[in-house]
């Protein structure tokens, strides 16, 4: 389900199965992958509140998958830009990233996702214990950076970035609001995986 946009984009890029990426395929690739990365990120953040509301703890498995898909689409987004938009012109890429703060913000978000993806296995979770939870709170920072990056690159129509900013604020606000209870729960014996 979450992979289908990527398959569709791949079909469009290769020109197979009658899929077309429109008049400006490079822009479509950057746009669709960036949008998917952001959506997956928001979905990842929605899991904990959903779990707390519904009591479905198997949602946690979904959370890992969503997080990895966010990373996957962020990589596709980044590489579409590097390969197709910039034509792998390293000098140009470097000067662009240095000159355009919104790119630096996006790049920081993508970089921060790397350690999270690498420690996404159950083994890593067991090994890092409490530190895993702390590490994976980086997701909050990544989400803020991602919305900031999106906001900054918009030409004029801010409705979409505003919508994402509101959603992310609600999802992060939920955690702040719930914090006293979480702290209480932590002092109680045998809590399971964290609230990241």
């Amino acid at each position: 389900m979450f992979i289908s946009p990527a398959l569709w984009l791949a079909a469009g890029a290769l020109g197979v199965a009658g899929v077309s990426l429109g008049m400006d395929p490079v822009r479509s690739l950057v746009h669709e992958n960036g949008t998917m990365a952001l959506r997956m990120l928001v979905a990842t953040l929605a899991i904990t509140p959903l779990r707390q509301l519904t009591g479905h703890s198997d949602l946690l498995r979904l959370r890992r998958m969503l997080g990895l898909f966010a990373f996957f689409y962020a990589l596709l987004h980044l590489s579409s830009w590097v390969v197709f938009d910039q034509g792998m012109d390293l000098q140009m890429i470097l000067s662009e990233v240095v000159k355009r703060p919104y790119l630096l913000v996006g790049l920081s978000a993508a970089m921060l996702m790397l350690p999270l993806a690498l420690t996404s296995t159950t083994a890593a979770q067991r090994w890092l214990k409490r530190r895993w939870t702390q590490l994976h709170r980086l997701t909050y920072v990544i989400a803020v950076l991602a919305v900031w990056h999106f906001w900054w690159q918009v030409k004029k129509d801010l409705r979409e970035p505003i919508a994402y900013a509101v959603i992310v604020t609600v999802l992060l606000g939920w955690r702040v609001w719930k914090r006293p209870r979480a702290a209480k729960a932590r002092s109680a014996p045998a809590t399971t995986q964290g609230t990241a």
């Binding site: 890029a13 429109g22 008049m23 400006d24 395929p25 490079v26 822009r27 690739l29 197709f84 938009d85 910039q86 034509g87 140009m92 000067s95 662009e96 000159k99 355009r100 919104y102 900054w152 690159q153 030409k155 004029k156 129509d157 409705r159």
Partner: protein, 317 residues
């Protein structure tokens, strides 16, 4: 251009209150006998016969690059009046009615009034001009416009010595232009040129593309084309042309003055704050096509660089 014989009935003379003024203005201009009425059968009010758009190419002022396809030109547009996505204009402009159309000409000129489009076109020989189009977003196309030099229209209205600039206004009609229901920009869209820019032979008023009337999403029925400037200067669906003394408050330069200037000349040396203007992506290339270098004044420096002699183009971007 034909003159005289005021007895020929112009389409606009099939009287209605609103059109009464057009006729007076047209008579005042001495255009009443224009070939249109005589040469073409009377069609519905405001119609412009299809043959008019099949214009001969002005090779001297056309580039030799291969034009983009009609599908590209009519499927990838920035026309915020119909939505902010580039596919929105084609999708949301289907019910737009470009004809009949009136244009108000006013301000610092002698011949003012509201004119039916067909009357404005009557004295013009339309020509095809293949121009480069460079969007401020760093993509570009090559487009075979059909139109006539703006200068010819402006001169007929006899600008006074106070006419330092020309301001253009797009139709403001949220019923027909759904994008205007959102205040993305300060509607109506306004653009402007210095009078010498407006009089430059390259500056075109376009009514068609590929030998046909402009599709709605391309700014039907009348739009500006200034090939050495970024595309947003090419205001679409024009309802008003005003001669003014002060530099007009143009939409994008007002919305984001640090990003879009009044002049907006294509300039690879002056970046947009968020992207480089040194290169551009030609629409229609393969996924692996390289970006190409953007040329100063979009390659029209020979014809227009003189207009800006002594000006700091970094400041006046």
């Amino acid at each position: 251009m034909a003159h005289k014989s005021a007895s020929i009935i112009l389409p606009s003379e099939i009287t209605s209150e609103a059109l009464f003024h057009d006729r007076r203005a047209v008579l005042a201009m001495g255009l009443a006998g224009a070939a249109l009425g005589a040469a073409t059968p009377l069609t519905a009010l405001g119609d412009i016969p299809a043959e008019r758009y099949k214009a001969a190419r002005n090779a001297r002022l056309s580039v030799t690059e291969t034009p983009n396809s009609f599908e590209e030109i009519s499927g990838y547009n920035n026309f915020y009046e119909f939505g902010t996505d580039k596919s929105d204009p084609a999708a949301n402009s289907r019910n737009f009615k470009p004809l009949p159309w009136n244009v108000t000409v006013d301000g610092e000129c002698e011949v003012k009034g509201s004119f039916a489009l067909e009357d404005l076109l009557a004295p013009q020989t339309l020509e095809e001009r293949v121009y480069r189009m460079r969007c401020v977003e760093a993509w570009s196309m090559v487009i075979p416009w059909v139109g006539f030099p703006l200068a010819e229209l402006l001169k007929r209205h006899k600008p006074t010595s106070k006419a330092k600039y020309v301001a253009f206004t797009t139709l403001n009609d949220p019923k027909q232009m759904p994008g205007q229901r959102e205040r993305v920009l300060d509607w109506p869209y306004v653009e402007g040129l210095r009078i010498d820019e407006a009089m430059n032979p390259l500056t075109l008023l376009a009514v068609g593309v590929y030998g046909k009337a402009l599709p709605n999403q391309c700014g039907a029925p009348l739009r500006l084309v200034v090939p050495w400037k970024y595309g947003f200067k090419g205001i679409k669906s024009i309802v008003r042309i005003s001669f003014v003394e002060q530099q007009p408050r143009t939409s994008w330069s007002h919305a984001a003055p640090n990003e879009y200037g009044f002049y907006a000349n294509v300039n690879p040396a002056v970046d947009h704050p968020r992207w480089s203007q040194a290169t551009e992506r030609r629409i229609g290339g393969s996924l692996l096509a390289r970006r190409q270098a953007t040329l100063p004044f979009n390659g029209y420096a020979d014809q227009v660089a003189d207009l800006y002699k002594g000006m700091d183009l970094r400041r006046n971007f």
